[in-house]
């Protein structure tokens, strides 16, 4: 247990775009911190209702998929230990067209209410999907505006941040979270997202074989240049490492 906030639970706020982002990208990390007693709130901008995958063979259609994905995400949250799930009720694939100011304000209000120690979102340029980049941009702006006392990190696909230089980052900007003890939870969450993961045969292999497919480490990019990383193995940095006015716009 980290030595900060011993008297009250640490809090993590994750703001992503689609059901399954939390599991497929950083499910091991969320499971790890949930197991340590961190209170996790997951915000999904959409219900992923415009996705292509509908099970294999398909068991959903465009009109039934939203409710099904909400249910599957809730089950994934249960597997990972995420206590609170919220939606922004934006239609999938339209996040970049939503009024940016009001979206940022909604997230800022959430940050004010929750007062998280850690905020996770997408990098606004490296997100890989327009919805990802847009929710990342709005969340980053909201984090700064709220003068959040916590830290901001961008989630990252696979092990690409093992070598961050091509993306404009240095190794000291990168956190590596060891998730090797939490891969069972991650696999359960993958399987909970059945309509998305059914097409990937490896997910449904016997557990030991499926677990072998996961990396042992998940990578995060420091999203707040005013707060250097002191412990690259923990999202929750040592007490006293944060500047007094962390989060001021720069």
């Amino acid at each position: 247990m980290n030595d900060m906030n011993q008297s009250k639970a640490r809090k993590l706020l994750a703001v992503f775009a689609h059901p399954d982002d939390e599991t497929f990208i950083c499910g091991g990390t969320l499971a790890k911190y949930a197991a340590e007693g961190v209170e996790i709130t997951l915000v999904s901008a959409t219900r992923g209702e415009m996705g292509r995958r509908m099970g294999n063979p398909p068991y959903l259609n465009r009109e039934t998929i939203a409710a099904a994905r909400e249910k599957e995400l809730q089950a994934a949250c249960d597997s990972l230990g995420i206590g609170r799930l919220m939606f922004l009720d934006i239609r999938d694939k339209t996040v970049e067209f939503i009024d940016e100011e009001s979206l940022t304000a909604r997230i800022e209000n959430l940050i004010q209410d929750i007062a998280p120690d850690v905020v996770l979102t997408f990098h606004e340029k490296l997100g890989g999907h327009p919805d990802h980049c847009s929710i990342g941009k709005a969340t980053t702006a909201a984090y700064h505006r709220a003068r959040c006392k916590g830290a901001l990190y961008f989630i990252s696909f696979g092990d690409r941040m093992e070598h961050p230089e091509p993306y404009g980052y240095a190794p000291e900007d990168i956190l590596k979270i060891d998730v090797s003890d939490h891969l069972e939870s991650k696999l359960a969450a993958f399987r909970a997202h059945r309509c998305q993961s059914e097409i990937d045969e490896w997910v449904w292999l016997p557990d030991s074989e499926a677990l072998d497919r996961f990396g042992k480490v998940e990578y995060f990019i420091n999203g707040d240049a005013s707060a250097p990383i002191l412990n690259s193995g923990d999202l929750f940095q040592p007490a006293g490492s944060r500047p007094v006015m962390a989060g001021v716009n720069h």
Binding site: M50, R52, R53, E63, A66, K93, I199
Partner: protein, 105 residues
């Protein structure tokens, strides 16, 4: 959804002819249109054997909507006709939905 039965779908499509309908249409990886309201003049489905099928609507006296690659259909509990095209691994390629009321935004 079940595999398209051309005769069945043709009969269901005909029920939308001569009245206003709300349309959801998509080529999943590229475009979707939700809730455009048209007066359906004609409705067609074509293709033989096991499909996939082509469907077309004429609307408002001068409009066309044509789509191919349709494989599955469903008349849902709300009375909406849902047509879709899936690939061999369950991924949606196209969809065409017709309803008398707007689809949820």
């Amino acid at each position: 959804m079940v595999n398209i039965d051309r005769m069945q779908v043709e009969a269901e499509l005909r029920k939308f002819v001569g009245a206003a309908a709300f349309i959801h249409s998509e080529a999943t990886s590229y475009v979707f249109v939700r809730n455009f309201k048209v007066e359906v003049t004609d409705a067609f489905i074509a293709g033989d054997g096991e499909g996939p099928y082509r469907a077309a609507l004429r609307f408002d006296g001068h409009g066309w909507l044509r789509m191919e690659g349709l494989t599955h259909y469903e008349l849902d509990p709300a009375g909406r006709l849902l047509l879709a095209g899936f690939d061999d691994r369950g991924r949606m390629d196209v969809a065409l939905h017709l309803g008398k009321e707007p689809f949820p935004e």
